[in-house]
Symmetry: C2
Amino acid sequence: MKVRILVRLKPGVLDPQGRAVHHSLEGLGFDGVSDVRIGRMIELDVDEATTDEAIDQMCRQLLANMVIEDYSVEKLNTAEPA
Amino acid sequence: MKVRILVRLKPGVLDPQGRAVHHSLEGLGFDGVSDVRIGRMIELDVDEATTDEAIDQMCRQLLANMVIEDYSVEKLNTAEPA
């Protein structure tokens, strides 16, 4: 089973990397971008038997910094090209 | 309009960060994980008028390293909590 975990900074937390990318996009002439936020994507290949609770625990213990980050979990159809 | 860009290493490109996370997950006692790949998520807030071509150009010129990375673009419903 493929699981995609998206980790993003909580709203309100300053994102200097996103700001730098925003600035660079403007420098390259791309107008119309009003905000850029950068996060991480973690794709796990796990046993079918893996519970949602186990995936939550992985996020809380290792994959996300719960102080400043939120995460969301998406289960991908294994037939989908990942 | 919110646009989510997912940047991941091309298949076959070594992912040392993913390997380290995989090792750590095993160290924490999470069995049943067979692979971990780590990528970036970039969330853009762009004008409704922004074309798909412009977003593609942003990816190719700045957001992804096309030599070793692939990207995919997902348009998010603005009503969806991002």
